[in-house]
């Protein structure tokens, strides 16, 4: 690993100032579980890495808050373990808990942050599909202040985000899901833990009376250059009765929407197959949770 300068600001403003002052070659450091590995491997992603701005001491970056009126706020510096342990998320945003709860191992979860997971911009990021089905917004802080961007627009290529080098992801916001909403995140990995998603699928369903699907959202990880939504599959579901047969058709549509590649973790055919299988399963779980209505998720 090459030597660097290290800064540990205590506020967002200070951090953004440092990113600007230090200029090219400066990287924000969150949990370190991706960045430190890349530094050790001498990644070509940032050959001139010269300074690190640690985000660890910025209190305003941490925490999960929720109210029915204001919705959900997740600080980008919140760790996976904190997300997975959050009673609020468990009750109202189960897919997020499931996404955060499978990242690496216990050790990884204690270090890795949701901001790091998203800004590393791996197509397989486990928190991304779950946040996408809640249509989360990213609040980004930079030299010219704050801007809001739908999370979907944050990713644009493997390892690349819409953030400029002087910007930081500050927090994620999502509306409170209406009653009758259920969600789920499932991923496929060869090992039970300590693995990277070969395919990740998140689904959200809001069911009205008579089992009618009011809202359907599906997001896919590791099957495109970035985490994506599956709009055609969603359209098939929207406004129809939630039945096993419909879920199967939607799952097939999602498989068509995936644009997987073949790599060491799996072939494109395998991934497409998994999208179908897992989307169907994910919809079933989401529907079960949606039907449970006011019963909080406990399984």
């Amino acid at each position: 690993m090459r030597t660097v300068q290290y800064f540990a600001p205590e506020s967002m403003q200070e951090a953004v100032d440092l990113l600007q002052q230090q200029g090219a070659g400066t990287r924000p450091l969150a949990g370190g579980t991706d960045l430190v590995v890349q530094m050790k491997e001498g990644s070509t992603r940032f050959p001139l890495l010269s300074s690190l701005v640690s985000l660890r001491r910025i209190q305003e970056l941490r925490g999960v808050e929720f109210s029915e009126a204001d919705g959900l706020r997740i600080g980008a510096g919140t760790t996976m373990a904190e997300l997975a342990e959050s009673a609020t998320l468990r009750a109202r945003f189960p897919a997020i808990v499931e996404g955060a709860g499978v990242v690496g191992s216990i050790q990884t979860m204690n270090m890795a942050t949701v901001g790091g997971n998203l800004c590393n911009a791996a197509p397989s990021a486990d928190t991304a599909p779950a946040l996408l089905v809640y249509e989360a917004d990213a609040i980004i802080v930079g030299p010219s202040g704050q801007r809001w961007l739908p999370l979907e627009k944050v990713f644009f290529a493997p390892g690349k985000t819409a953030l400029s080098p002087y910007e930081l992801l500050f927090e994620l916001r999502a509306l409170a899901p209406p009653a009758g909403t259920g969600s789920s995140y499932l991923r496929h990995t060869p090992r039970k833990r300590m693995d990277i998603a070969v395919v990740g699928v998140a689904a959200l369903l809001t069911l009205g009376t008579g089992n009618l699907i009011q809202t359907a959202r599906i997001a896919l990880g590791a099957v495109a250059p970035m985490p994506i939504r599956a709009p055609q599959a969603e359209a098939l579901l929207q406004g129809n009765m939630a039945t096993e047969g419909l879920f199967r058709r939607a799952a097939a549509a999602a498989a068509e929407e995936a644009q997987p590649i073949s790599d060491i973790r799996g072939s494109a055919d395998f991934r497409r197959h998994l999208v179908r299988v897992m989307t169907e399963r994910c919809l079933q779980v989401a529907a079960r949770r949606a039907r449970a209505r006011d019963i909080l998720w406990s399984d």
């Binding site: 690993m1 450091l29 370190g32 430190v36 590995v37 690496g104 216990i106 050790q107 204690n110 833990r193």
Partner: protein, 156 residues
């Protein structure tokens, strides 16, 4: 590049250490403090041999830069048996045959401690979950599971 002075609290002792900021907590504890019980098995957070507790949380110290640990209490394997008496988990690892080559053992025991700290009487499934970030190549884990379950019995 100039070294910077940081203050680390390790196993209850405070150390002022001059580090290069890119040194990991593992390197710093091993090479500067000469506490060599924590091991490097992969350097990428995938094996758990370097597992320590920082601020009460289990972490892989090969992925934490040393300055990041400033201000948090660091616990390593050396901090478990301070006055010559083995911690019950350590004794259980010996008695149950949970130790073979010993290289994963310090990290594994730290993971076991973190598990028992939050769940003093885990089920087998919870033990398997609690140790998921720590690879052992010698034992097939069976005797490690037995050791952790036995330690839970002894301490509760």
């Amino acid at each position: 590049m100039a070294k910077q002075l940081i203050s680390l609290q390790v196993n209850g002792d405070t150390y002022e250490v001059a580090v290069e900021p890119h040194w990991t907590l593992l390197e710093t504890v091993r090479d500067e403090l000469r506490l060599t019980g924590s091991k490097e098995g992969c350097g990428t957070g995938d094996c758990g041999a370097c597992t320590m507790m920082v601020g009460g949380r289990l972490i892989t110290s090969c992925l934490m830069l040393a300055p990041e640990a400033e201000g948090s209490a660091v616990l390593t394997i050396e901090g478990l048996s301070r006055d010559g008496d083995l911690h019950p988990i350590q004794q259980a690892f010996i008695d149950s045959g949970g130790v073979q080559c010993g290289f994963c053992t310090p990290g594994m025991i730290m993971a076991a401690k973190a598990l028992l700290d939050r769940n003093p009487s885990p089920t087998l499934a919870q033990v398997r979950e609690g140790l998921e970030g720590n690879l052992c190549r010698c034992t097939g884990y069976t005797k490690i599971y037995e050791a952790v379950l036995a330690a839970a019995q002894r301490t509760s």
